[in-house]
Symmetry: C2
Subunit: 604 residues, 2 copies
């Protein structure tokens, strides 16, 4: 319909991540709570992903975890500095899609959008899978039902997000603080102890199946890069901060970088010192937890906190993807459907699409984090690269004081993230990255195709041009009736107000019925002509459709007014109106007349 | 809607069984082909049902099969004579429901309807289960997949009946003749041979677990009564016969009775002589087939013919139940939905309801004929009894010459069928008949409840009274627009023809967009006022609903005209109109105004 085609400029006033309202702006610390869970929670699977790759070269190779983590942390430092500049340049929110659209043109923005969609879906799947593994580390009975645990979690998130959540940064403070505290505690207590307090999980024999090659190191690096997902979230949500926004957002980004770096390096040191190798039924993080705290209440509490934080991390996608999809819908790159918020302030279709895609992924990967990791992070690194390249372009065009230094910083950032992305893609191609290589271009094509369709529709509707004035014609309103009743009276009252001419039509195969109707109509004498239509094939719809088509051929505006009996109770709905709905459906499919439904509300 | 409430008298012009059209009237022989398959095919499970009960008293007890069959055949003779009179009295088709409604009043007719519904559903389930067992007798590989075979058959029948079938009696001639020929052949060849030509199936050890008590004999009798189902079909379909209708129909009934009696008794004699006992993987009929014809091609051919005929028997319910449901809908005892025939001459909802119920039954009974038999036949015997009682009432009221003799015949019929029904119910209660005892009254209550609702609605609508004349008021047509376009022009053209006053409304949260719209509207100057509505909560629907409610409060007839962009290709449907449909849905739920959808057809 008409206002579905509004061509707004992209203005991501609606923040790309949840937890922010216009009234409720964030301090730096609140920002950390609201926006960093996605990034911080990746310590639950990032270090483990490195260990799982390296172990292929035997337990000796595990000592490479620390140097790889240091490289990743260096990349993190570059990203934090780069994103500091993104925040300064895009105080309105610098999502990769918005930046690419502004600075780089349509195709890069489509690439950014497609990789963001893939990334959001994977964030849900990986976070839930890691959360289930964490919960199963504490409660081994769950370890054979990981997929079910994930799907229950997904159903929970979907239900909550369909209802709409009044999520506040303050609500996230406690789990964030508990999580950061537990992680730092593991590192400090673990390093103080001379050896692990407890060992959990069943031993898994370690056989070196390949040499510690450069390829294996690169693979481990690319798996570990999954720990960097989410560091862009703060830059996407600058408008949610309290003034001075840019300063506060930059400070939060710095805190996030520092915390994430410390956690990653600290955990890597512990892994190296305690020779942590993969064990059955527990995560690497759970092993480190047991090593520091033993297997008492602190072990359970930490695993539950980790699970909760991963659930919140999955939830950030429910805040982000539906909003991104609504932006794409506003740009005519997705069905306008995804821009619809029904009665609640919720992008219902976006939430459902995300839930469906994540469920498919979880089932396909059987809720195993390590099957999902090779798909993960590629989308994020595409987004990283696009953001930095866009900024280099920005500096080169605007040339403010010191632009060259700034362009250099973002250029190095772009180069490194592109390089890392390429490493991810090539080393993990056969293990699953190909899915992303297939999905991203397909999504881009889909977006472009949809946009082309909407553009063609816009041209056909003459958008942007002034149409000729509306014509003045007369109208004929056709009212299907069954018998003389208050319903017919109600319908004719409306029809007489709307039409210059009104005609009632009835379909009857049975001559006796026709006689009765004709007589009571004449006795009633409502001032409207009654036409009784023959129905040779007993169809009630066909004769009316034929009559309407014929009536519509003389240039008048024809409307069919169908009165509907509306029961007060929902359970009676099935008893009513089926013929009216059928007639309306057929008329809308086969004629161009206006089809009007007029409710008649029953008392029962 | 109005014509949903047409109160036609019950006139079952549409025959209750398939295979008959107005042009295509039946001779006696054609009638046998078209209407007797349901009854004749029951020899595939009736004798077996007796054997399966008697074997509980050891193999010696199996010789009681013949006397029990003779009792059943005597009952059959009474039924044939009684139904000869039913045909004479109800040449318009004497379905138990129609007869009960005419002669016995509302509650007996509800009882007849409920038991017919149960019977039709069970006919499908039992015929399919017996058909699958017959097919598996020829192809043992199927014997572990009986349920799947049944469900495939059911899906096939449903699909064919949803499309609508131009079934002709002549098409059924060949399978009927083949079936009757095979059965008579089995009896004749089997009796000529001194001992069985071949023995099929795996032996099952026979242990007598109980004595050959009267109760066991009654149980065997009631199981065997399942062979009598379907003898009422001819009396339901008298209008389908060629003149002289009554004569032809009576002759067909007689032929059916003779054939069925001969088959049942013949097979029972064979069972007795060859000491046929249940064996694994094959039906009793398949054992008799192998005994007569050996295990060559004739064995396969006969089993396939039996399967086909059982499939056709199941199909008779698809001809019958949807028509019965449409009659009930016309009497306001089922949702009017079931009286709807969309574009095809098919009661789609009735067909779907039957398929669903039969599928549930088949799954619940795991496609085992012998779990379904105890539920079967009770419904039929209720119908038998009601028909006879109705006729007794008829004779006693009309008193034509010889009425007493006739009333006596029908009275004996009623007594015997009632007695048999009672035996069925009591002996099989715990084995499944209780389901019928629960289902039939529930269905009756449902029908009565629905009728009460429709009556109340009729009273509220003042059906049968002349309402006051329609009022003359003025009208306001509200058109939601998004921007100046050909769509807006199209909508305003229609609105100006329909409304005394027209107002365009737009919802915009963004001041810049409002400015653009206002300016282009003023430049266009279509002669219609544009109201721009604030949307504090970004909802597009809420402000329009509020505006409409306010406009509707001053007594004018208000209509909202929603233009819809209609793409030419179905696949683009998801890209369009979602907001329009949402707005229409909310308006119809929350206001009493007329909601008009106006299509604008795209070229693409």
């Amino acid at each position: 319909m008409a206002f579905g085609l509004a061509r707004r400029e992209l203005r991501p006033k609606v923040p790309l991540r949840p937890g922010e309202g216009d009234k409720n702006h964030l301090t730096s610390l609140e920002g950390l709570a609201a926006l960093s869970l996605d990034a911080l929670s990746s310590v639950a699977y990032g270090p483990e992903a490195i260990v799982l790759v390296l172990v292929a070269a035997g337990s000796g190779a595990l000592s490479a975890t620390l140097p790889i983590t240091l490289v990743i942390s260096a990349l993190l430092a570059v990203l934090v500095v780069s994103y500091g500049q993104v925040i300064a340049v895009h105080p309105d929110g610098g999502g990769a899609y918005a930046v690419a659209k502004k600075d780089l043109g349509p195709w890069p923005s489509l690439l950014a959008a497609a990789s963001l969609v893939v990334d959001y879906v994977l964030t849900v799947a990986v976070s839930l899978a890691a959360g289930a593994a964490s919960l199963a580390s504490a409660f081994p009975a769950l370890s054979t039902h990981l997929l079910a645990v994930c799907l229950v979690g997904l159903a929970l998130l979907t239900a909550v997000n369909l209802r709409g959540i009044a999520e506040s940064a303050r609500a996230l403070m406690l789990p964030t603080v508990l999580f950061i505290g537990s992680m730092l505690g593991i590192i400090v207590v673990g390093l103080i102890r001379s050896h692990p307090a407890a060992v959990v999980g069943t031993p898994v024999p370690v056989h070196a199946t390949e040499a510690l090659s450069v390829l294996l190191l690169l693979k481990a690096f690319s798996s570990g890069c999954s720990a960097l997902t989410g560091v862009e979230a703060i830059a996407n949500a600058v408008p949610s901060f309290r003034t001075p926004r840019v300063k506060r957002a930059q400070r939060t980004e710095l805190m996030l970088g520092a915390l994430l770096g410390v956690m990653l390096i600290g955990l890597a040191i512990l892994i190296r010192r305690d020779h942590v190798a993969p064990r059955g039924g527990v995560t690497v993080l759970a092993q480190l937890t047991a090593g520091a705290y033993g297997t008492g209440w602190a072990y359970y509490a930490t695993n539950i906190v980790v699970t909760l934080v991963l659930l919140f991390a999955a939830n950030t996608s429910f805040g982000g993807l539906p909003v991104l999809m609504s932006l794409l819908a506003r740009d005519h790159r997705l069905p306008h459907l995804f821009g619809l918020r029904a009665e609640r302030p919720v992008y219902r279709y976006g939430v459902l699409a995300l839930a469906l895609l994540a469920a498919v992924l979880l089932v396909a990967a059987n809720a195993d984090t390590h099957r999902l990791i090779p798909l993960f992070a590629i989308g994020v690194f595409i987004g990283f690269t696009i953001s930095q390249v866009g900024l280099v372009r920005h500096w080169a065009t605007e040339r403010p004081p010191g632009w060259l230094r700034r362009a250099l910083i973002n250029g190095i950032g772009a180069l490194l993230t592109a390089l890392a992305g390429l490493v991810l893609l090539t080393t993990k191609f056969l293990e699953g990255a190909w899915v992303v290589v297939v999905a991203v271009p397909l999504l881009m094509l889909l977006f472009a195709r949809i946009q082309r369709y909407y553009d063609a529709v816009g041209a056909e509707l003459g958008l942007g041009r002034i149409p000729p004035p509306p014509q003045r014609t007369t109208s004929l309103v056709i009212v299907p009736v069954g018998e003389v009743s208050k319903l017919a009276q109600h319908a004719l009252t409306a029809a007489l107000a709307l039409g210059d001419e009104v005609v009632a039509v009835a379909v009857h195969a049975d001559p006796a019925r026709v006689q009765v109707l004709r007589e009571s109509w004449d006795r009633w004498n409502p001032g409207v002509r009654l036409e009784i239509l023959d129905s040779p094939h007993r169809s009630l719809v066909e004769p009316i459709v034929e009559y309407v088509r014929h009536a519509a051929s003389d240039g008048r505006q024809v409307a069919v007014l169908i009165p509907e009996v509306e029961p007060r109770h929902r359970r009676y709905q099935i008893l009513q109106n089926q013929r009216g709905i059928l007639l309306a459906t057929v008329l809308r499919a086969r004629t161009d007349v206006a089809v009007c439904m007029l409710p008649y509300r029953l008392r029962l």
